[in-house]
């Protein structure tokens, strides 16, 4: 039995932990929920890019184009990529670390890839648009703080079984927010804990590796990385063109029914080039197994992720576990729903604290501005991303700040929330309209169709919420 004193301290700790991190947590959860569909969002941003059925992919033609790009030298970066079409993303690309171009079915180089909005969304989720290293450390620390919030939350809730299915939306504003917060958080706590730990992993891995290097490898961080990832294979110099066709023809034998989704030329700027082929195995949680080849197509070895020890498997499973990138659309949808639930938990947590004060003031307005302004800022920046290829992060923050100022200016929470919901609906309708006008039938196929269906569902959801508020207001009047 937990003592009343412990419960009180747990509530206080949970409140302040949530209050200080609430805004950032909300943005990270919102952007992370959408990033579950990152591959689909990238395709949605450019639905008119050439689509290739994986079976019809002309590897010989792609090899010629890839080698001509590698031969040009002007666009080379240390890693160069050939992305073959897959069942999830039926497009072929040739990419450097900075740019990417689509391939036509006949192997010709097509238009440049435009993924400005998804990049902005990714940067928001990974480092909140801050300088990369500091931002990632902050976001990862928020993962650890989320673990702390989950544990203090469980201690702060002695009536966890008594209230297991209670949802009292009709009593008072505080009870309504508390019940929404508790029901969403308690039932999904194991999932949220998984997301918190795997999320913290990305940014904390480097500082932890630095400490491990000091403790075990005499400060040599490269030695730690080589222990985990292995050393580069020794290859002969100056081996000539990349034998893409010969390499890919060996994959069914080497990788069984795994799906090849990436061919990477390592050390592309030097004469010590070698090739890595990444294959995703459906029956494993690891991100990919890498098969290493010489440029002439001789198989060297694998990186040993799939047959490696438990440690290697754990390290390489974190990405798919965090982003729900396994088992197809139903898992992605579940991740979206549970991710959005965590977003609501972050918002309602602060709402509970605000409601406990029993007054409405500028702080309430400001928080409503953040909560309703963030999706609006994402919608507007997404719409602008079809024309503008820079400054989308600035657009996002500008809209978010404007939303906060509007909330403060109106000084009326009910009116502001209603207005914000309508603006969000307008934004989503605008997004769908832009897709249809710009891309016509391309907006109704493949991943673009999936994304547009999700946008439509979100739109219907907000319309229903607004309609219920209007109905209740009329009844009260």
């Amino acid at each position: 039995m937990i003592s009343t004193d412990t419960v009180k301290r747990a509530i206080a700790g949970h409140s302040w932990l949530g209050l200080v991190s609430g805004g950032l947590m909300y943005l990270i959860c919102l952007s992370g929920s959408l990033l579950v569909f990152s591959s689909e969002i990238e395709q949605w941003e450019q639905p008119d890019a050439p689509m290739i059925n994986p079976i019809d992919f002309n590897v010989a033609a792609a090899e010629t184009t890839f080698n001509s790009v590698l031969g040009r030298g002007s666009n080379l970066t240390p890693h160069m990529y050939l992305v073959p079409p897959t069942s999830d993303s039926p497009r072929a690309r040739i990419a450097s670390e900075k740019e990417s171009w689509f391939l036509y079915p006949n192997g010709e180089l097509g238009q440049k890839e435009r993924v400005f909005w998804s990049s902005m969304l990714r940067e928001l989720h990974y480092f909140l648009h801050l300088p990369e290293s500091w931002g990632m450390l902050l976001v990862s620390s928020l993962g650890a703080i989320l673990v702390g919030l989950i544990i203090t939350g469980l201690f702060a809730h002695p009536g966890i079984l008594r209230d297991a299915f209670a949802l009292r939306l009709n009593k008072s504003l505080q009870l309504k927010e508390t019940d929404i917060h508790n029901r969403l958080s308690v039932w999904a706590a194991p999932f949220h804990l998984t997301i918190a730990v795997t999320g913290a992993f990305f940014g904390l891995a480097l500082p932890t590796l630095a400490i491990i290097a000091e403790a075990e490898f005499a400060g040599d961080q490269q030695a730690v990385i080589e222990t985990v990832y292995g050393v580069d294979p020794q290859v002969e110099l100056n081996q000539g063109a990349i034998a893409v066709n010969a390499i890919l023809q060996q994959m069914p034998v080497l990788a069984g029914d795994g799906e090849t989704f990436l061919l990477t030329v390592h050390e592309a700027e030097s004469e010590k080039r070698f090739v890595g082929v990444s294959v995703q195995h459906k029956d494993s949680m690891i991100y990919a197994e890498n098969y290493l080849f010489t440029t002439a197509g001789s198989f060297i070895r694998t990186d040993g992720w799939i047959d490696g020890g438990i440690g290697k498997k754990v390290l390489y499973s974190v990405y798919r576990l965090h982003f729900g990138n396994f088992s197809g659309y139903w898992v992605k949808l579940a991740y979206l729903v549970l991710g959005l639930s965590l977003t609501v938990v972050a918002a309602s947590g602060v709402n509970v604290w605000l409601a406990k004060r029993r007054v409405e003031d500028g702080l309430s307005d400001l928080w409503a501005g953040v909560v309703w302004g963030s999706p609006l800022a994402l919608t507007i920046s997404a719409g602008m991303g079809f024309w503008v290829d820079f400054g989308l992060a600035a657009v996002f923050w500008l809209v978010l700040c404007s939303s906060c100022f509007l909330a403060l200016y109106l000084c009326d929470l009910v009116r502001f929330k209603s207005l914000a919901r309508r603006l969000n609906v307008l934004g989503l309708v605008g997004l769908l309209a832009i897709q249809v006008v710009l891309f016509q039938e391309d907006a109704f196929r493949s991943a673009a169709l999936v994304m547009n269906q999700i946008i439509f569902c979100l739109l219907v959801g907000i319309v229903l919420v607004e309609a219920s508020h209007v109905r209740l207001s009329k009844r009260m009047a």
Binding site: T152, T227, L338
Partner: protein, 179 residues
Amino acid sequence: MLVLIAWLCAGLAVVLAFCLWRGMLRLRFAAVWVILLLSASFLLFGLAYQLVFAAVYLFLVVPALAWVLVAYAGNFPAAVLTPFKRTGTDWVPKNVAHHLAKFLWAVVFSGLTSILSVVAVCNLLPLSPVDRIALMVIAGPLVWGTVLAWMLIQHPGLRLRIFLAVMGLSALVTLIRWT
């Protein structure tokens, strides 16, 4: 087929928990069945896929089913709830400096202490270097969050300070000795 039965078991477990909450079943009887059904669901998902997938599927399926019952049992408002009275803004709430300082102290100190301790303890384990590194980077945030929660819940007495000081210092000494 296995997946279907796994779904059914998870669904039944949630429905039983709901009946238990409504007072329709005896506590001991229902609680045992809820645990049995959840375990069966986990095993069946594990047989159909792998244990890692099974755990994640269960984490996804149970809340989704439970929320349906939460919505079913929910009391929805018949009118807009009365909003709170409007007042002037208190931009700096009471005790904010104290709590902010406590937040920063707890987050930073628990972070440093746990990461150092986890690395130090994992170094003692008879595992391969890769397994130890994996354990360190996964356990690090988990221990950090746990120590953070413990610092916030614990009464700020001598016990907390001594424990943290000993933990942090011993980890630091161990690491210095190794380097």
